[in-house]
Subunit: 332 residues, 2 copies
């Protein structure tokens, strides 16, 4: 492995000049630049990036924390964020934490120890207070969770409004017993959805049943099991529920399957609303009414702000929310 020393020797210039060529500095004579470039080619010299990072104290890398890459919403979001980072000349580095505090902390350590110039958090197991403590130095951005201190840029879906509109849509169709599914009720975003759910009821003068607020439901299988639990009674006695706000298209499709299993007609006797506008919501029969986030816009805005901050621009911290888009299909 050659170093700039070798290149300098071969091309008969100093290390500094080689370094200048490497960094596209002005003030290098055409002739010397030429000689250096030739030497580089000849030796197949590759600058040691670690040494550069060490010296410059920048790695040009932006970490992206994601809980589950297998979750279609997050894989899409991670993809969009990565792409934007590249466009702005940064190296996106993805970290999958499985919602695990320890793993997440490891990534924060990397950021603290300057391995990462900036950090984008798309989901976190940490509390707002913990994040507040961490956010002092360096560029940290939250995407997806509506954390609201004033030391972090935050970009997220307006979960409350999205849920509100979805549930309102169900209630407008005459539904009265709507189940609410969540993958993790403790998280702020799920809490926001729940409050949208409640608001929709309140505004129409309706009540909801707390027993129908269910936690830890995230997969097709979860939706299927829960759906079977509720819908198996639907023929024999007063109906337990007549609609579900599923929280994800996977859960929604599980519910739909359960409905079909028990011969419950959708959307005639039962309504389903999903979340994410995943391809799965297109291929069921009927296709699933769902709520879509504006992921692409979010990623674009986010990285633009991040870039400015990294460039040293001092600007007020942002808190930007995006509206969910209700896409009515066949299940409502």
């Amino acid at each position: 492995m050659y170093t700039i020393r070798d290149v300098a020797k071969i091309s008969g210039v100093s290390k500094s000049t080689v370094s200048r060529v490497l960094n596209n500095h002005p003030y290098v004579s055409f002739e010397k630049r030429k000689r250096v470039e030739e030497a580089i080619k000849q030796l197949e010299f590759k600058p040691n990036q670690i040494a550069r990072h060490f010296r410059t104290k920048r790695t040009n890398s932006i970490g992206i924390i994601v809980s589950f890459l297998a979750h279609p919403y997050f894989s899409e979001l991670a993809g969009a964020l990565s792409e934007e980072c590249r466009i702005h000349g940064y190296n996106p580095v993805l970290f999958q934490t499985f919602g695990d505090r320890t793993q997440e902390m490891d990534v924060f350590k990397k950021w603290k120890s300057k391995e990462l110039d900036a950090l984008i958090v798309t989901s976190t197991a940490l509390t707002q207070a913990e994040l507040d403590e961490l956010s002092d130095n360096g560029v940290l951005t939250i995407c997806n969770e509506a954390y609201t201190n004033n030391k972090i840029d935050v970009f997220c879906l307006n979960e409350k409004k999205a849920a509100y509109e979805g549930v309102q849509h169900l209630l407008n169709k005459g539904r009265k017993k709507v189940a609410f599914c969540s993958d993790d009720l403790a998280s702020p975003s799920q809490q926001a959805r729940l409050s949208g759910f409640k608001q929709a009821h309140l505004e129409m003068g309706l009540t909801w049943d707390d027993a129908l607020i269910v936690d830890n439901i995230s997969s097709v299988t979860d939706g299927y099991s829960l759906g079977k639990y509720y819908l198996s009674f639907s023929n024999s006695r007063a109906k337990t529920i007549d609609a579900v706000f599923a929280g994800s298209d996977f859960v929604a499709s599980g519910f739909l399957k359960a409905a079909q299993h028990y011969g419950v007609e959708v959307p005639l006797d039962f309504s389903i609303i999903g979340f994410d506008n995943h391809p799965i919501s297109e291929v069921t029969s009927p296709p699933i009414t769902t709520i879509m986030n504006q992921t692409k816009d979010m990623a674009q805005d986010l990285v633009e702000v991040l870039d400015m901050r990294l460039l040293g621009q001092d600007r007020p911290f942002m808190f930007k929310q995006y509206n969910g888009i209700l896409i009515v299909k066949g299940t409502t």
Copy 2:
């Protein structure tokens, strides 16, 4: 930001001793170790990782190249690989290349310039010859593509056999006109599937129609369009096709949707076989017969071998293939 110098000063020892404590060296007196640890805590000292990497010429990071994270198979694979890396004490670093040569080359550069200790490639836009050139130094592992030089460890699905068994299953059901969908026919893995497709026909004394071998089909929408193209004729004239080997569950579900659109009975008049055993294959009606890969096993074996190599063990290069598992559901 403090350095070991500061820690040394405070605790009244030399930099070397601090370094020894940091690296859990033996031969540090209990008493000095205690003092150093206290100073570290007091200053909230975090060793500069970049400096360590620079000095030791190791980053402890393993790069994982993935084309599309949004593709459920790859997100699952990437997840499994990341997890295994962690278990072995390495930092997995995911790179999404979108099948783009330039982006892929960027990652290879990182590896070459020692930013990454090893590289796992789950899909590549490079040819075997190009990879051969690159694989000289450092630890490179191919996962998923059956590249076969003897300078790389290779772990992959036996695509040919998997496709062979899938198509055989269709032919055994009496199907005669099977369409073959591929997302990228030029890739070795798709070529292997195609050869399995052909072998199944040959062994049963049947022929296939080259016009039914279709390229660039990967999404639900692609499958739906193609399905409509073929199935719209099925009532009015001699049937164009009576089955499809879809290449992915997404494509398969698009086909199923098209069949339902034209009132073609599945599996009575038309059979569909997908790939990946994605949740989507569970929620359609009927659920989609599919082929599953043993991702978890693959990831485990792979990282184990990688670890040994990184530990300096000299061992023959591996070429290990895994069998696909045919899961018969409702579409065949």
